[in-house]
Amino acid sequence: MAVGTSSGQHVHLSAREVEPVPADATALRHVDQLDDEAFDQFRRLVDGDTVNVQPAEEVPFEHGEIIVHTAYFRVTVR
């Protein structure tokens, strides 16, 4: 779900556990590669706070990228 605003496009983020890693996965990051802000956002997404809308240019994740933490999480940016 993309939400248009006057200041630019806003996007909706969510994270879902995936196992095994899909064979077509192209972007993978370990959680230690996230900076503190991205880490906090990732943690909130994983904790089920899936309603997360923010300006597209500020999103620290790629659509479809997999973050390796205590499980594998696929981040969706729409």
Partner: protein, 417 residues
């Protein structure tokens, strides 16, 4: 005149330095020399490859050959630097080639240390640092049934996780009473021991290795500990620390002290020579003393800071000011992070909140300098911020181990004082 920069090592420190150098200096000659046979890959994800969780290799490479071509960076693979001549500003390699530099970055990291015991180099005894290691570990683990893990630290536990993921029943031989005893008490380590047991990896305390046993073909079949007890296993993983790759600096005058000594600008004692990454013993501006750090984010940032300072005009140097973190992500629903400097300090606080949640914080001169969180990482960024801000916590340390600690509690306490 065109500047020329040489980087030795293409790990994350060297790789991030190459990227920053090109951004800062669009016309410079840049050469990256590595004795590995492949371009920069994601060293912190190769354990997942070894576990069999990431079956493909491509997404684990961070730079392909095109990356270097597009940036006009010369990459010399399979090239080992044997000597540096700081007066002549020249680097010599094993093939007799010379590379001249105006500024040099040494980012050569370390090599896993072997146990000083009989048969420690037998077939089937693995050490883990490179992608090549990961491939051979993966191949061997796939066909193994019994394992032995040695090294009760952040890297040793990767071998335990590989055994767990591959269905290898293993004994994890530790010298003391608990895993990572330099940073964890028995309370905290107990949570990790339970998690290891769930992976079919049994911690064995007050143990270690006196020697390995091999068959007639020289393949390891077990380990005998200093108590004389024998453990069977055809798959052995050893992670007891790193020897830093500094041999080629011998005679160069560059100061070393179990690593290369650098200031907060990543500069060595020798003009025009910088160092970054695991290899450094750097001046930590928060600790106010020299320190070491073996983590991805720290190596990446040090590479970038070094590159900026290699190209900076006089008086514009950038200092390395960073609080690193290192996670263990092997246990389902049991997150773990260590941050800052959890093994040093003059004071500490710890508390266990449940069977799966524990926190320990270390302090120096009244300031927070590091810690370990198990089971709940909600406060990871807040604690790192407190370290960065160098808050005076005298009289408030206990607040930080309150289960429901929030930053505002510190502000309120400060106002009351």
């Amino acid at each position: 005149m065109t500047e020329s920069y040489v980087i030795i090592g293409d790990g994350i420190a060297g790789g991030s330095a190459a990227k920053t150098l090109r951004e800062e200096s669009p016309d410079a000659d840049i050469t990256v020399i590595t004795d590995e046979g492949e371009t920069l890959y994601n060293r912190i994800l190769i354990k997942e490859y070894a576990k069999g969780k990431i079956p493909m290799e491509d997404p684990l490479f961070l730079h392909d050959e095109e990356w270097y071509e597009e940036r006009d960076i010369d990459l010399e693979l399979n090239t080992h630097v044997t000597h540096i001549d700081p007066d002549g500003h020249v680097v010599h390699t094993h093939e007799g080639d010379d590379y001249e530099y105006d500024a040099l970055l040494v980012a050569t990291g370390g090599t896993p240390r072997q146990l000083p015991v009989d048969n420690s180099d037998a077939d089937g005894v693995h050490h883990f640092w490179t992608f090549e290691d990961a491939r051979s570990i993966a191949d061997h683990a796939e066909e193994s049934e019994q394992g032995i893990v040695v090294g009760a630290g952040l890297l040793g536990i990767d071998f335990a996780a590989i055994c767990g993921a591959r269905g290898i029943e293993a004994n994890y031989l530790m010298r003391g009473d608990c895993w990572w005893r330099y940073a964890l008490s028995e309370d905290g380590a107990g949570i990790i021991h339970d998690a290891l047991r769930e992976l079919d990896v049994e911690p064995v305390f007050q143990s270690g290795v006196d020697h390995f046993v091999t068959d007639d073909d020289g393949h390891v079949t077990g380990a005998v500990d200093p108590n004389g007890e024998e453990f069977e296993g055809e798959f052995v993983g050893v992670s007891i620390g790193l020897d830093f790759n500094t041999e080629f600096l011998r005679g160069s005058g560059i100061e070393t002290d179990d690593g290369i000594v650098v200031d907060e600008f990543m500069e060595t004692n020798t003009e025009d020579i910088y160092a970054a990454g695991d290899i450094t013993r750097f001046y930590d501006v928060i600790l106010e003393e020299h320190a070491q750090n073996g983590s991805w984010d720290s190596a990446k940032k040090q590479g970038a800071v070094a590159a900026k300072n290699m190209t900076a005009a006089d008086g514009e140097a950038e200092e390395f000011r960073h609080v690193s973190s290192y996670s263990i992500s092997h246990f389902k629903d049991l997150p773990f992070v260590s941050f800052g400097h959890p093994t040093i300090g003059d004071d500490d606080r710890e508390r266990k909140y449940s069977d799966t949640e524990w926190r320990r914080l270390t302090f120096k001169n009244g300031k927070l300098i590091g810690g370990v969180l198990i089971g709940n990482l909600k406060l990871q960024s807040a604690f790192k911020r407190i370290i960065r801000e160098e808050r005076d916590l005298e009289g408030q340390k206990d607040l930080l181990i309150e289960e429901d600690f929030e930053m505002e509690m510190l502000d309120a306490a400060a106002q009351e004082q």
